[in-house]
């Protein structure tokens, strides 16, 4: 750990960033990063965390202010200069080439660091072994679950030992076991004197992994304090300022779920993807007014189960019944017309990134068959948008800018607005709160709880165990393509869950 008073390895001074559209993302930020220290960065959606990280990484330039690295003022012209200088970043959205194999991705990255393919792969194998990562080097990246992709990203970033490592919300899409593995890596690097900038929305992680914590609000630093002493309440208050934090919803023990028939029924479903049987005979039922949680270690068939239920992946066997109709062979849009809505885990899939907020909302309405022709009433769509922007607190400069320019959390809020606007009867939601700040996470939880009490059937697939346990009427655990257990949340003990997820039933 860094002795206070020593020279910071990396520092930023008076950083200001105004995006071309006029958004002020950073408004005079000064921070120090010490060697051998984990510096946690907290802040609401749109506070400017990712912007700060991208400036340090040389990806974008500050409007004014400076970055000081190893005692000298630096201005990286691009990430590759930062990387050569020993700075690495793991993005909120991973940056692997999807169509390539893991080995190819690593070799590609290694070649830019001056490593030959053999050297890069040797280094990668060594790292994987050191951290106990099982990485399928010959698999195609696009076929891998988020948890494994993250491991590849980590290994990639560490091929040549860095001096500074930036992690942008590394735990928002991966399961608790993956988080443990990640923390082991971070602790190891801290021992070796690497300066780590760790961006997160999960307040509980602050004390576990952090040495110092900085809270940002609307482009400014609010406070920097020792991480071990900061309480969750204190941090939450610093993040949201004067406003009140919404309450977590209390799920009434007996929901509206009566003995009515299932809204969604899956029978003995099998899904084969790239020759691999990812889902091996899953049966489940979600009744109206019920939340069925599904959890498990990433890559145990959850993604394939979901994509088959919504009709994106073809089914190899079994049957899917939606509101009493067999939809096993129907395309996604037909299922939508029957009352299904799908919130994918990746924002690249839950929104059309190149289109603006208005158009994305209109698309949601169109998909649900609720956009009447012949002409779109854009005024009506705009009114709806304003309503949800206020309800969810979306920070958005303009409804006409492509949503790809919005911060991760704000994108997630828009994706949710799309669902709220159409009132589906069956919702399949994957990681609905990933990347959301605490206030918004609670708002979303309340929304889900309210939808449930209005009689919606919700299949909640989440890598966030707390979320699943808190919101679900019943929790299913998936392992190796099968559901190994379905019970009420309070009937599980944490150890039991860990065992089930790990596969030792």
């Amino acid at each position: 750990m860094a002795a206070s008073g020593s020279q910071p390895l990396l520092a930023v001074r008076d950083l200001v960033k105004v995006y071309p559209d006029g958004t002020v993302a950073l408004n005079g930020v000064s921070l120090d990063f010490m060697a051998g220290e984990v510096h946690v960065l907290l802040g609401e959606n749109g506070a400017g965390k990712t912007t700060l990280a991208r400036i340090i990484y040389g990806e974008i330039r500050p409007t004014s202010g400076e970055v000081i690295y190893e005692g000298r003022r630096v201005l990286f012209r691009g990430p590759w200069e930062a990387i050569r200088a020993g700075i690495r970043m793991i993005y909120q959205h991973f940056s692997l080439v999807g169509g390539f194999t893991v080995a190819d991705n690593i070799a590609l990255y290694g070649s830019r660091l001056g490593l030959s393919r053999r050297e890069a792969l040797e280094a990668a194998r060594r790292l994987a072994e050191e951290y106990g990562f099982r990485i399928p080097f010959d698999a195609r990246v696009s076929d891998l679950p988020a948890g494994i992709q993250q491991r590849v990203e980590i290994v990639k970033a560490l091929l040549v030992e860095p001096r500074v490592l930036i992690l942008d919300e590394p735990t928002s899409l991966v399961s608790p076991l993956d988080v443990e593995a990640l923390f082991r890596v971070i602790r190891g690097l801290r021992e070796k004197g690497v300066a780590i900038l760790y961006i997160t929305h999960k307040l509980r992680e602050v004390g576990v992994i952090g040495d110092r914590v900085t809270v940002m609000r609307r482009g400014r630093v609010v406070a920097t304090l020792p991480a071990k002493k900061a309480t969750v309440d204190q941090l939450a208050r610093l993040m949201i300022g004067e406003r009140r934090l919404p309450e977590e919803p209390r799920i009434a023990a007996a929901g509206a779920a009566g003995e009515r028939g299932a809204a969604l029924r899956v029978e003995n479903l099998r899904v084969v993807r790239e020759g691999f049987e990812a889902v091996r005979g899953v049966s489940l039922e979600v009744r109206p007014g019920e939340i069925l949680g599904v959890t498990g270690v990433a890559g145990n068939g959850q993604d394939e189960l979901v994509e088959a239920i919504v009709g994106v992946l073809p089914v190899a066997g079994g049957r899917i019944t939606l509101l009493g109709r067999d939809v096993t062979r129907e395309p996604t849009w037909v299922r939508y017309r029957l009352g299904l809505a799908y919130l994918p885990g990746s924002r690249k899939l839950s929104l059309v990134q190149e289109m603006n907020a208005l158009e994305n909302l209109a698309l949601g309405l169109l998909g649900a068959g609720k956009l009447r022709g012949p002409f779109i009433d854009w005024g009506w769509v705009a009114k709806l948008l304003v309503k949800y922007v206020e309800e969810l607190g979306v920070v958005m400069h303009s409804p006409y800018a492509p949503v790809k320019h919005l911060s991760g959390g704000n994108q997630q809020k828009l994706a949710l607005a799309r669902i709220l606007a159409v009132e589906p009867r069956v919702l399949v939601a994957v990681d609905p709160t990933h990347g959301l700040d605490i206030a918004t996470t609670r708002i979303v939880h309340s929304i889900l709880a309210e939808m449930r009490s209005r009689g919606m059937a919700i299949l909640l697939v989440s890598s966030d165990l707390d979320e699943v346990l808190q919101l679900s009427d019943r929790v299913a655990v998936m392992n190796s393509g099968r559901i190994v257990s379905i019970k009420k949340p309070h009937e599980y003990t944490l150890e039991e869950l860990g065992r089930l997820m790990g596969g030792a039933a």
């Binding site: 190819d104 590609l108 030959s116 053999r118 395309p331 059309v352 990134q353 158009e359 169109l366 956009l371």
Partner: protein, 344 residues
């Protein structure tokens, strides 16, 4: 607003590059570029009627390319769609010489061709570039065969029987009626794309196929309908040539020949924006009109002017070409890294 400015700048760069390339070509061929450009301008003024006649089909083939492009499809078939549109309009005019009917049937014929390519793409996975190029050739030879064998004018054997006068469209205030039709088509396209649910579906399919289908959009229908719509405009392009310009076809189909490909250039120059397409089409047809003067005045082959279109397509198509090639370039870099590693 900003993307519009960016695109405008892009188009201006394309224009400037194209003009510079032409100046260079003129001097390489031994002509004085200043004199050539003066003649070109003169020609545009002198032959403005040719320009106006040329602009209508060009606008329509631009739309034929632009509409499917919004769904992420490359309709190279505007050419073939124009051939069948022209033939269909001509055939109908012999039986029922009503211009509206002729145009409708011409549009329908082109639309069918587009629809076919769309269905082949969606249901059979045949890439639309391949299928439309093949359909272009099939259309060309089929139409020629029919023209030569069935529609030949006994008095002028290298042309068809003319459209009977009641089936023709003339001029209003010195402007061919078909120009108004073409401009109306642009406005219609704009409305469909930006104001109607179908347009939203089409644009989302092109902008984010994987996301759109997970949002419940029927992306297959959007793709097919975009090709159908593109084909309709391609067919209409051929029909307006016959009904509003030449009133017949010649056995080489020379009045239609190339209009589909020029339309791609005009569409790219306008970044596929239906409201910009009339202007880019006007520019390209002005070049054709001016070109005649160039030929008369300096003896420069009119084909030199194709350089202009070529450079425009090249400069403005470059960014999308780069997007297409990006994975390939990455693979190349990878292969290099592989070689250095001794083939591990």
């Amino acid at each position: 607003m900003k993307p519009v400015v960016e695109k405008l700048i892009g188009s201006l760069i394309g224009l400037a590059a194209a003009l510079a390339a032409m100046a260079l070509a003129f001097s390489l061929l031994g002509y004085n570029p200043a004199e050539a450009f003066r003649l070109l301008g003169e020609g545009i003024v002198e032959n403005y009627d040719i320009m106006l006649l040329r602009v209508a089909p060009l606008i329509l083939t631009s739309l034929a390319f632009a509409v499917p492009a919004f769904a992420g499809l490359f309709n190279i078939g505007g050419e073939g769609q124009a051939y069948v549109g022209a033939l269909a309009a001509l055939a109908v005019s012999y039986i029922a010489p009503n211009p509206v009917l002729c145009l409708l049937v011409g549009a329908l014929a082109g639309g069918l061709l587009g629809y076919l390519a769309g269905v082949l793409r969606v249901k059979r996975g045949v890439h639309e570039v391949v299928s439309t190029i093949m359909l272009n050739w099939i259309a060309f030879y089929t139409v020629r065969y029919i023209v030569v064998n069935y529609f030949k004018n006994p008095y002028y054997p290298d042309t068809t029987n003319p459209v009977p006068p009641p089936g023709r469209l003339g001029q209003v205030a010195g402007v061919p009626v078909v120009v108004f039709i073409a401009i109306a088509a642009c406005i219609l396209c704009y409305l469909v794309l930006y104001r109607m649910p179908l347009g939203l579906a089409i644009r989302s399919t092109g902008a984010g196929y994987e996301a759109a289908r997970r949002l419940g959009i029927d992306v297959e229908k959007a793709m097919i309908l975009s090709m159908l719509l593109g084909g309709v405009f391609g067919g209409l392009a051929g029909a307006v040539i016959v009904i509003g310009e030449t009133y017949n076809l010649d056995v080489a189909l020379s009045s239609v020949y190339g209009v589909g490909f020029d339309g791609i250039g005009a569409a790219l120059l306008a970044w596929n924006n239906p409201l910009a397409i009339p202007f880019s089409s006007l520019l390209l047809s002005a070049l054709v009109a001016g070109g005649y003067q160039l030929q008369i005045g300096m003896g420069i082959d009119i084909h030199v002017l194709s350089i202009f279109t070529g450079v425009v397509v090249f400069v403005l198509g470059l960014p999308s070409l780069y997007e297409l090639l990006k994975p390939k370039l990455q693979a190349l870099r990878l292969a290099k890294a592989r070689r250095r590693g001794g083939g591990a």
